[in-house]
Symmetry: C2
């Protein structure tokens, strides 16, 4: 939208209109055999906090949006999610009856919230990331909400700690002047996952943040861009949203959802919004980890010079060993003379690798899938 059309933010008001949405999808293949189809990453405690990642995400958001947290998840995980988040009303548990990518999942949340209140500012935060401290996170989200209230889709930028080739990058632009959001900036460009060389330049320049996929935006602006970029998806989601808080919900979902196009929210909304100059960024100082593989488990659970152990019933003995053990059984595990080792012990599958090879786990899981070993996936 043009700058003169942009509403000015009224800080208190914007925060009261904020709804949090937690998309809880993704198996976390690189965390196999801990994380798998039946028990995906967000249902595990991977930080040693005593809470699953989805519960920690909820607890991080609830003070910002008390009673205003929506979750989107797959049919298979409905019961587990409800059990983790008993405070969330049944009408705020959005079930993907079949996987349709993030465009449909987050778009439906936007459409439902928008119909309930067209002034809604929504924020989308993955269920399976590790963030600390929560207070810094909430400071950043508040700035993002105030910035979103000026009619922008606001990404949260993570200050890069190493030249990752696994994340997209956001090139920071000029400061905005938004009340309650002193750190908000325009976005110069979004960059897809770069090469290591390019990533190294980005990090050295200080001009780039990681794109962690977290954003805050008015539902009206989300749907505006969605309607123009993906009219078919928009129409379907609107039809479901109209039936959502009625007895027709299940029937309409069953009729409409299966035909929705599969597209990522980035392509359906974020790119058109960026092209229109409707995006902003709030750089964040909190510690963030997407817990993408077992090397992350080691980073998030430092054991000093020894072995990090995750698991309630763990019985682990070590002699001259370092690394990570994640145990889902009550077996005794002895590690002798192995360094940076990763051992993941589950009742039907055992992984032995090293932190350096953590990314390669995905390849093995794909091979298992190709070979028909569905029982352990």
């Amino acid at each position: 939208m043009s700058e003169q059309d942009r509403p000015s933010s009224v800080p208190g008001d914007a925060l009261a209109r904020f709804h949090a949405v937690i998309p809880a999808g993704g198996v976390g293949t690189r965390l196999w055999p801990l994380s798998r189809a039946a028990t995906p990453k967000f249902l595990h405690d991977l930080t040693g906090s005593g809470h699953t990642l989805i519960r920690a995400t909820y607890d991080r958001l609830a003070p910002l949006a008390p009673g205003r947290v929506m979750v989107v998840t797959g049919q298979a995980h409905r019961d587990a999610v409800v059990s983790q988040l008993p405070e969330v009303d049944e009408s705020d548990v959005v079930i993907e009856t079949e996987p349709k990518d993030s465009g449909a999942a987050i778009g439906l949340a936007a459409a439902i919230l928008h119909l309930r209140n067209p002034e809604t500012i929504m924020g989308s935060f993955a269920a399976d990331h590790a963030i600390s401290p929560d207070s810094l996170f909430r400071d950043v989200v508040r700035e993002a909400v105030h910035t979103a209230a000026t009619g922008r889709i606001v990404t949260i930028g993570i200050k890069p700690t190493y030249p990752s080739t696994g994340f997209g990058y956001i090139q920071l632009g000029e400061p905005l002047t938004v009340e309650g959001a002193p750190h908000a900036l325009t976005v110069r460009t979004f960059v897809e996952k770069p090469s290591e060389e390019v990533a190294t330049e980005y990090v050295a320049s200080g001009e780039y943040c990681w794109n962690a996929g977290m954003f805050v935006a008015p539902t009206s602006l989300m749907l505006h861009h969605l309607e123009r970029a993906q009219p078919e998806l928009y129409a379907g989601l609107t039809e479901i949203a109209r039936a959502w808080d009625t007895p027709d919900r299940d029937a309409v979902v069953a009729r409409v959802w299966p035909g929705l196009p599969k597209i990522a929210i980035d392509y359906a909304v974020a790119e058109p919004a960026a092209a229109a100059g409707d995006v902003a960024v709030v750089p964040a100082d909190f510690r963030w980890d997407d817990v993408g593989d077992f090397a992350a488990i080691g980073r998030l659970n430092p054991a000093g010079s020894g072995v990090t152990v995750l698991g309630e019933h763990a019985r682990v003995v070590t002699d001259n060993a370092t690394g990570v053990v994640v145990t889902g059984t009550n077996r005794l595990i002895a590690l002798i003379g192995v360094q940076d080792i990763v051992v993941v012990d589950t009742p039907d599958a055992l992984l032995v690798t090293t932190a350096d090879n953590a990314q390669a786990v995905k390849k093995t899981v794909e091979q298992l899938k190709a070979s028909g070993a569905e029982d352990v996936l």
Copy 2:
């Protein structure tokens, strides 16, 4: 004995008097958690032959001593041993009602066999070593029997393949002239486990063999030295032996065995015999391994550049991995980017180490014992 007293060997006759004794003891601590109190090393197939080590030992000896194989084992393993060796008569299964070291175990076998036939030549061969090929082994044992028939305790010397510090060494002496035993030699000295430096000298010199603990001897000569060196042990064993083939066996064992002194056969018999000049050696060319640790499993089951897998129900997938997997469960095991790894997967305990650390397993088992973790030992 003096050389003029020494009987001359009559080849055919000596072989007909040969009885094999298989002491089946020893947990094999370095092979934990595969080998443990309830299922010691000799009850496992560690060479991929399809047979347990004790069965392979029996099959190797039976052609030399058909119907003349005796086994000595602990009370706890009686049923397993009988099940492995159904051909062995009940009167040839000698049970140690409590552990009394090899002096009592092998000494009792000698005493029983001697009472049945004072002309017996016995050979003692551990139940848990790996030997191949059997034909070469039998050639060597035949030479040892002929040499023993001349009134000697004959050790079988293993040509060393590396400067082991884990075995004793035999310094070879002069050739003997025994019919049917062209390779028999006198023994210059027995040496306890040497330092690596000394072991390297021994191997380079070509004058030394490993002492694998295998020997062949007339029972009369065994008991002669036992009586002189350990009169109390000799008396007790003789008392049990007299009752062995009578209805009094169990009662006498129960009364006498618990009071027997604990001493190794080397001290009870071999050293006094060596001092008397009554020992000889037949150097052997067969491949021998005491299967002392998991590094041995790798040597005995070469996998080329990949991963050796032992276990009936093994489901193992690998990516850039080398080493050994021994599995006692039907879990899927994935090894990614780990080299020379040793993974031993049992229902209640998991070991992850490397071949280089194979000897350190014993230390961990001792720590587990000290910490009261008897359930996994």
